[in-house]
Structures are given as structure tokens and as C-alpha cells.
């Protein structure tokens, strides 16, 4: 981390970090059993990324 600039991470890395952290929190809050939590976290992460990349491509024609 550069104190002048802060963390330097790309759009994709930001989205990945966000998706991973929120999926973990949702998984732990909404499920009790460890296996159910893992399944929920993976499914939630997959949907976060799918929808994020999907919206990104949907906006691509209007980006220039």
C-alpha cells in the first residue's frame, strides 16, 4: 500500500474482493451447517461474478 495513493487494485480485483467478502458474510449469517455455508458462499459468489460481468458487458456498447 502506497500511503500517498492508497491501495492500488483494479476493477476486477475490487469486484472479486467485494464479492468474496459479502458472500462469506451472507453465508455465515443465513446458514447454520458448515456444508450449507460453503455451498451458499460458492453459489452467492458465482452469482455476484456472473451478474457483475454480465452488467459490465451490457454496458460495453455505451462505453465509448
Amino acid at each position: 500500500m502506497n500511503p500517498e495513493m492508497g491501495f492500488k487494485i483494479s476493477h476486477l480485483q475490487s469486484m472479486l474482493l467485494f464479492a468474496v467478502l459479502i458472500s462469506i458474510a451472507f453465508g455465515f449469517l443465513s446458514r447454520r451447517r458448515p456444508m450449507e455455508r460453503v455451498k451458499y458462499i460458492l453459489w452467492s459468489l458465482f452469482l455476484f461474478l456472473l451478474i457483475g460481468v454480465g452488467i459490465g458487458w451490457a454496458m460495453y456498447p455505451f462505453s465509448r
Binding site: M1, P3, G6, F7, K8, S14, L21, A25, F28, L29
Partner: protein, 138 residues
């Protein structure tokens, strides 16, 4: 004449457990994960503490906007409310961001979202702890 449609007064035990649930909810808001820790839900407590903490550290590190009470418009006020949701971690975000916000770059904008999400997530976790303390299925 007594109002027969009124609900009967809650027994003292219920009102005490309701007060305890409220305290647990407030504790969960002030320190992310503390509400669940008081209920001995260690996994959830750890997950809340780490995810909210990491979002705050990353958000402040990316020079996101940590809103203050002196906002100019409704969006600033809403951002302030969301940031306040992190409880004491709001002060951590303020102390980490010594250089101030920089939303002229995308990462600063992402940082602002990270901070707001941390607050809303912590409010959700505190509400979850409150409901669990009241005996709702959690």
C-alpha cells in the same frame, strides 16, 4: 371500562429478555460481531468482525469517502448513515484515511462503496443478532 382489544401486559421475564436482546443488538452495531459473540455464535461473530473490518480497511485504504455529519445534500447524509452503521469502525476509517478521500479515481469510488457496504452489512448482522436473542430462528 377496560379496553379488551389491548394486548395483555408482558410479564417481567419477557420485558427483561427483550431489553437484553436490544442490548445485544446495540453491542453488535457498536463492535461488529460482538452481538453474536454474546450469544456464543462464534463463527458468525468472527465472520462479521473480519468481513466488516476488512471492508472498512480496504475502503479507507482505497481512499473512499468517509462521510461526516456536515454533508451538503441527501446523498451525503445517506452515506453518513451508512458509514455510521460500522459503529466504532467508523472511527477506525476516519483515522486510517489521513490523506482524505480521493474519488477522482475509480478506486476511491470503489472505496466509498466498500465503506457504505460495511455499514449496511453490520446493521444487518446487528439486526440478526437482535432477532436471534429474541428467540427467532437464526
Amino acid at each position: 371500562m377496560a379496553d379488551e382489544t389491548a394486548a395483555p401486559a408482558a410479564p417481567p421475564q419477557d420485558s427483561r429478555s427483550e431489553a437484553m436482546a436490544f442490548v445485544i443488538g446495540v453491542a453488535g452495531w457498536l463492535v461488529p460481531g460482538l452481538g453474536h459473540a454474546l450469544l456464543k455464535m462464534w463463527g458468525r461473530a468472527t465472520a462479521c468482525f473480519l468481513t466488516v473490518g476488512l471492508l472498512v480497511i480496504l475502503g479507507a485504504g482505497m481512499r473512499g469517502n468517509v462521510f461526516t455529519s456536515t454533508g451538503n445534500d441527501a446523498f451525503d447524509s445517506l452515506g453518513y448513515l451508512a458509514d455510521l452503521g460500522t459503529g466504532t469502525f467508523y472511527l477506525l476509517a476516519r483515522s486510517l484515511e489521513t490523506k482524505g478521500a480521493d474519488v477522482s479515481h475509480a478506486r476511491g469510488d470503489y472505496g466509498t462503496r466498500f465503506l457504505a457496504t460495511a455499514g449496511v452489512l453490520n446493521l444487518l448482522a446487528a439486526l440478526h443478532a437482535y432477532e436471534a436473542a429474541r428467540g427467532r430462528k437464526a
